[in-house]
């Protein structure tokens, strides 16, 4: 897989999506296709797809208990065991998973290996990926929560609270949200990291760039529609509520940039279940993280364990009985 090929093909794909929705609404007037039909289909694919994927994973057995132990295990009472990095009970597992899912603990360990004269290997701290990742995921979360205002009437107070904190600095009118800036910045940095680091560039597939460009496209179109095109947000809200009350009615006159935004979101959620984005669900099921290191103290059953051909002691003694007797090893059959 060629790096440039990956990048360009993904860029073309996302550009095509933008163009299709822009002209679809702006030139041909397919408001209800992009405002109603596609979002409905996308949401259905998302929900069914995600449930299907999780169920599909969950029904595959975990035959062995294989946690990666990253700290001292529980053994003798006077040796301090590390319940978070090497869990010995369910609380430890919950703690470990919490740190993993909410704080990206493993990524926080990241270091960078460098070769020096000598030859020597040196390991520098490398928390950038962790930082970009945290910024990206949490600003995304805040943005999604803020969007609840479009689907709910009255707007829940926590949404109002998030929104007012997020817009605290009141830069420009309409307010530019901090989360928007962080989000665009983080996605950009993740992209620059992907193209900038030779190792990461080398492993990148079109799918990796596609997800980045798609998300970047959603962010940019969102900021554009709100802060530059100043889209009729009341119209957007009436569309959103009409969709969720199952009486879809796209109001006329919403700017095409909104439909670009909505279409990219639709593509993202429809693509989600089939893509690496499913890591969001998969991380909970990872057997190296979600199992306790109690292998020798608690039974673990492999549902498909089956008998295997072994070389029994009897066969072994048959092979060697005389020799064993000669050198004084006790035997079962004289």
């Amino acid at each position: 897989m060629n790096a440039l090929f990956s990048l360009v093909s993904a860029l073309i794909a996302v550009a095509a999506l933008v163009a299709v929705s822009w002209f679809g609404v702006g030139a041909i007037g397919l408001d209800s296709v992009f405002g109603v039909i596609i979002p409905y289909i996308a949401l259905a694919i998302f929900i069914i797809g995600v449930v299907y994927r999780i169920v599909d994973w969950a029904r595959v057995p975990v035959p062995f208990r294989i946690p990666t132990t990253c700290g001292q295990g529980k053994s003798l009472p006077w040796i301090k065991a590390d319940n978070l990095d090497c869990p010995y009970n369910t609380w430890g597992v919950i703690g470990r998973m919490f740190l993993e899912v909410f704080l990206f603990r493993s990524l926080f360990r990241n270091s960078k290996a460098e070769l020096r004269e000598g030859p020597k290997a040196a390991y520098a701290s490398a928390k950038w990926l962790w930082l970009f990742g945290i910024l990206f995921h949490y600003s995304f979360l805040i943005i999604v929560l803020r969007h609840l205002r479009f689907f709910m009437e009255p707007i829940p107070s926590f949404v109002e609270a998030i929104t007012s904190v997020d817009g605290f600095f009141q830069i420009m009118v309409p307010t530019v949200f901090i989360s928007d800036l962080l989000f665009l910045g983080a996605v950009t940095l993740l992209f620059l990291r992907r193209v900038g680091l030779p190792q990461v560039r080398y492993i990148s597939l079109p799918a990796d760039y596609f997800a980045l460009f798609l998300i970047l496209g959603i962010g940019i179109s969102g900021v554009l529609m709100r802060n530059f095109f100043k889209v009729d947000l009341l119209g957007v809200k009436s569309l959103a509520i009409s969709l969720f009350t199952l009486h879809p009615a796209p109001p006329p006159g919403i700017h095409p940039i909104f439909y670009v935004h909505l279409f990219l979101v639709s593509v993202l959620i429809a693509y989600f279940p089939f893509s690496k984005l499913m890591h969001a669900g998969g991380v909970f099921l990872s057997p190296t993280r979600n199992l306790a290191n109690v292998n020798r103290s608690e039974r673990y059953v492999n549902p498909w364990n089956y008998p295997v051909k072994v070389h029994t002691y009897e066969e072994y003694e048959n092979d060697y009985r005389e020799k064993m007797k000669e050198c004084g090893i006790p035997v079962d059959k004289e």
Binding site: T69, A113, G133, V200, N293, Y313, K323
Partner: protein, 539 residues
């Protein structure tokens, strides 16, 4: 290929981690260069085990003499395993290629070959998974990151799945815990289905299957070897040890890797066990049938792990022991800790382990009934049951290499350190990125510690060696301690090439040096037969 055929360390490491090839990885062909791959399994060994496609072949040949329907076999094997192992299934699906694992692999750091980045090693098989098992991959083909399973892809698998020591270091850093060991273990299983395996794994497996140990030592040979050790112990301590062998009704069965019987420096560790158990008056037994704690089945297939491991519980049952102690070994403890009880348990004919010396209950082993030797020994020391003279080890300035498997698959980190600190006075840790859960592989685990693979081994050994050289420069370290039989063999070569003034040894060797035994004569030499004190002072 031999060590002396290799270029000097600085020249060997004339690589750039940040310069991948011009060609994309799917278009970069695999080159089987001497010194970087292992010889294939001999047909006779495959026959003993009833494994597929026994024949004469070489990876350097164009024709690998595969069964005609090899592709079908592999894809069918993949399908089965995707339905049996959630790990495999999930790890095929959720990688985001963030690259956090890239420079965590010792083989990548030592070779600069991007296909040794854990992410790309897994992509070698993921690309086929996408092509044949996922909707988008089927629709988009190469654009979707998929590629067809061709003979070249299969050869690439063979080269790179046998260039992974399954050390799990990458899984420590992966945000989703993706464990390349799971991927390459399954990958090797698939390769085995069409008769692609390496002799340095399969011969020990075949030996172990028949004779009970990897080295193929028959029972009378073992008795000779053990006797040789007790003779040496008598020379050194004046104490004659009568070894219990296959003794029915003993309280404890002792199982250790056969590497400890066979060659220095493992033998010194083995003598250490003998001296310790003798001094304690332990009611225990060695076994010639279960004479192998190690399990190269781990490097073959899950089924083979079970086939070899079955001997341990079977022998414990036959001899009527109450519980089991296991010796110093790395991958052995991955199997004992994470697989044995599930595969061959429950061992309800055994009792929950209790130390007969201290009365300590080993609660952490109450289900599997098998205790690690450093758990046993650190408990003895903690309870003041051993008379130790650490000054007998004063010539030795040591550092400790955590085995991958005891560190990352069992969390055995403090027990060995506690023992080490109590048996010697000069102990220094290597830098923190290279020990404990971040420990680096010796470069020769998972069956790759053979001579023909020496260049790749020394490349893989580089991160460990670099950390070692750091403490050699800083603290004049002259002994690399480990509790792993593979380490004792492979680290010896590592030191030879990278740090010639350092020797390698096990923990119980030094314990026995320090152990003051009842009725012993004054010790003048250590277990290696070298003078205890500083020679110059004696003169």
């Amino acid at each position: 290929m031999e060590l002396h055929d290799l270029p000097k360390p600085q020249d060997l490491m004339n690589i750039d981690l940040n310069k991948p090839p011009e060609t994309g990885w799917m278009d970069t062909p695999t080159v089987f260069r001497n010194g970087t791959y292992s010889y294939p399994a001999a047909g006779k060994n495959l026959k003993i085990l009833g494994l597929a496609n026994p024949r004469q072949w070489s990876p350097a040949d164009e024709d690998w003499k595969l069964p005609e329907n090899w592709k079908e076999i592999i894809l069918q094997g993949m399908k089965e395993r995707l339905e049996k192992y959630r790990s495999f299934r999930l790890f095929m699906d959720i990688c985001v290629r963030c690259g956090a694992c890239a420079d965590k692999c010792h083989f990548f750091i030592g070779s600069g070959d991007p296909k040794n980045m854990p992410v790309l090693r897994a992509e070698l098989i993921r690309s086929v998974y996408r092509n044949d098992f996922t909707l988008l991959g089927k629709m988009l083909g190469r654009l979707g990151g998929g590629r067809e399973l061709t003979i070249d892809v299969l050869k690439e698998w063979f080269y790179y799945f046998f260039q992974c020591t399954e050390c799990r270091r990458c899984s420590v850093f992966c945000p989703y815990g993706i464990d390349t060991a799971e991927v390459t273990m399954i990958g090797r299983e698939l390769l085995n289905l069409v008769g692609l395996n390496i002799n340095w794994v399969i011969e020990p497996v075949a030996n172990c299957y028949r004779t009970g140990n990897h080295l193929g030592i028959p029972p009378h040979g073992l008795v000779d070897m053990w006797q040789f050790m007790t003779d040496d112990i008598e020379d050194i301590t004046g104490i004659k040890i009568d070894l219990p062998i296959n003794k029915k009704g003993a309280e404890i069965l002792f199982v250790t890797p056969s590497g400890d019987y066979f060659a220095d420096p493992g033998t010194y560790t083995c003598m250490g066990y003998m001296m310790l158990f003798h001094e304690l008056g332990l009611d225990y037994t060695w076994s010639t049938y279960a004479s192998e704690g190690g399990n190269f089945g781990l490097f073959t297939s899950h089924e083979m792990i079970k086939r070899l491991n079955a001997k341990i519980y079977a022998e414990a049952k036959r001899l009527g022991v109450k519980w089991i102690i296991g010796g110093e070994c790395g991958h052995m403890w991955r199997v004992i800790h994470q697989y044995m009880e599930t595969m061959n348990g429950p061992a309800d004919f055994l009792e929950e382990p209790v130390s007969p010396i201290t009365g300590t209950k080993f609660e952490n082993a109450k289900q599997s009934k098998m205790v690690h030797i450093t758990e046993f020994t650190s408990d003895l020391i903690k309870n003041g049951k051993l008379k130790l003279d650490p000054s007998r080890n004063d010539k030795i300035i040591a550092t400790y290499h955590d085995s991958c498997n005891t560190a990352r698959a069992a969390g055995l980190l403090e027990e060995p350190r506690y023992v080490i600190r109590n048996i010697m006075n000069n102990f220094y840790e290597m830098p923190e990125n290279t020990i404990r859960e971040q420990t680096f592989c010796c470069g020769g685990g998972a069956g790759l510690g053979n001579d023909e693979n020496i260049e790749m081994r020394m490349r893989g050994a580089f991160p460990r060696a670099s950390a070692l050289r750091h403490v050699v420069d800083k603290h004049a370290v002259n002994r690399l301690l480990c509790m792993c039989a593979i380490d004792r063999a492979t680290l010896t070569a590592l030191c030879h090439y990278w740090a010639p003034d350092v020797t390698v040894g096990g923990i119980h060797e030094l314990l026995a040096n320090a152990l003051v035994m009842k009725g012993e004569k004054e010790r003048t030499v250590d277990l290696r037969g070298e003078p205890l004190g500083d020679e110059e002072e004696d003169e």
